[in-house]
Amino acid sequence: MEYLASDKIAIVDLGSGDITEEELDEDLVLEKIGGAGITRFLYDRFEAEDPIVLGSGLLTGSLVPGSALSVMTAKSPLTDKVSHVPFVLDAGMEFKYSGFDYMVIKGTSEKPVYLWVHDGIADINDAGEVWGKDVWAAVDYVREFMGDDLIQVIGIGQAGESGSTLATTCVNYWQGGDRLGFGSLLGKKNLKLIGLRGMGLLEIAEPEDFVEDCAELVSAVKSGPLQGKKGIAQMAATLGAENMEDWIDPLTHRHMSCFNTPFPTNSFVFMDEDPALLEESKVEEPGFLLTDIHPLTLFKRMGLSAKDAFNVLKGCAKYGIDAAAVAELSEKAGNTSPEDIEKSLAQLKGPVDSAGNSVFSPWAWVGDQDPQAWERRQAVSYIFGIHPLFALLSSELTEAKLLDLASLGTELELTQETLDEVVAGITGK
């Protein structure tokens, strides 16, 4: 595969410690396009070895607006379905540039390890130093050890290590898009984290036309209904959820985007610093990045103050447990004390409604939506590598436009019929 790809699939066997590589066959792209289309194909191929499959979308890391998503595919311990969770912020992009398009992680390591994926190389490293540590300490460790603060980390905390089905895979210090218990899958494999860093280069088949089309899309998005909107509260309200601006905004420091995503879907809040501060804070951990709407809605409904709720979210991210599940179970138990909620994390158990029943993580389920239309949009996002929340907000990114861009970028004839078949293969519908 010559364009928009590194042309490499890694097969990582944690049991034997062997790592092999395969080329990304152009025929596979013609048949499955990319992202979840190919991760599902690889999952099925290695199913007997209980794999976790990472993959980038065909347009991930490009100038197509919203090109932030890579995907993790595995069998969810909460739904028992082969499912897909997104990883965004800058981690999806970093995977795309790491030198691999897809990565199959199979088998179980005898001792705790982490994967270090960079510049076309994947290494299995000893994780003895970080096993038992929380997510934040693990991220700090790997960045300090490698001497690079820009390493993107998909990792687990103590929840994942203990095998809790509510364990989530965090992206760096923050809650990721994993509502499906994938953190426990990493824990069972003795895999503490995956560190990603890439300096790769993606060739484009028709660069001028591709980039011009991307620029037109950016212009359309900027002048569209999202104009001037920013942050997690406005995004929630735009998608039909409760408007939480009055609750969140007083502690908001700045609104932050995932990679090349025009709408900043995340809000950074300061609990231990003046939110109006412009200079670099002298406090080491002044706040938290809000990435997930659902637990915010629940904690607000339970009567927690914004500051208390944000501190609970921070505690959940450090422990590596899905905050939406924590909020749901705490509400059901009538536990509305932030201190008691944090103390209960190790005892909480599923199942939880917050896992949903789709093959896609319900992280991007916001407001009152048509389930079929939502699932279709998620599938398309996960195939092409588009931020799943931005995709819901941005009608400019039509399926026809994404197919046009994919064809311009790769020189492959990708049709609506192929896309329909790939979506059906992923969703089973």
Binding site: L4, G61, S62, L63, P65, D90, M93, Y97, W136, D149, L150, N172, Y173, M199, G200, L201, L202, E203, I204, P207, V211, C214, A215, V218, V221, K222, K230, H253, R254, H255, M256, S257, C258, F259, N260, T261, P262, F263, P264, F268, F270, L278, E279, E280, S281, V283, E284, E285, P286, G287, L289
Partner: protein, 117 residues
């Protein structure tokens, strides 16, 4: 005439960095961009934009713009940003002189944090 950056408006999406990389390499890459959001203080959410110009390194911080002349001795009491050294090795901004419509970073910035002055 040059590029003006409002570091406070920036949401660190990196579109400018990728657009600049494309201008340099005719491909998608981030290694040669002369405009880079700095993201090294993630836990503190301290984010701005760095630009390599012919004679200077511009740091558009949230609290204001700082221009460091390349080659001049810096304040020894001030801690250098870890990302500053690789920036000095990169080509300077040429304002995308081969493009009629002007710099690509401006075109692709979704929040209009970059403009011409």
């Amino acid at each position: 005439m040059g590029i003006k950056i409002d570091g406070l408006l920036c949401t660190a999406c990196m579109a400018c960095e990728l657009a600049c990389g494309y201008h340099r390499d005719d491909a998608f890459a981030l290694l040669s961009s002369c405009i880079v959001p700095y993201r090294g203080q993630e836990k503190k959410n301290y984010v701005g934009v760095m630009l390599k110009e012919e004679d200077s390194l511009v740091a558009a911080r949230p609290e204001g713009v700082e221009i460091n002349r390349i080659g001049e001795e810096q304040d020894p009491d001030k801690e250098a940003d870890a990302s500053a050294k690789p920036m000095l090795l990169r080509e300077s901004c040429d304002l995308c002189e081969d493009l009629d419509e002007g710099p690509l970073c401006i075109k692709f910035c979704p929040v209009d944090a970059i403009s011409m002055e």
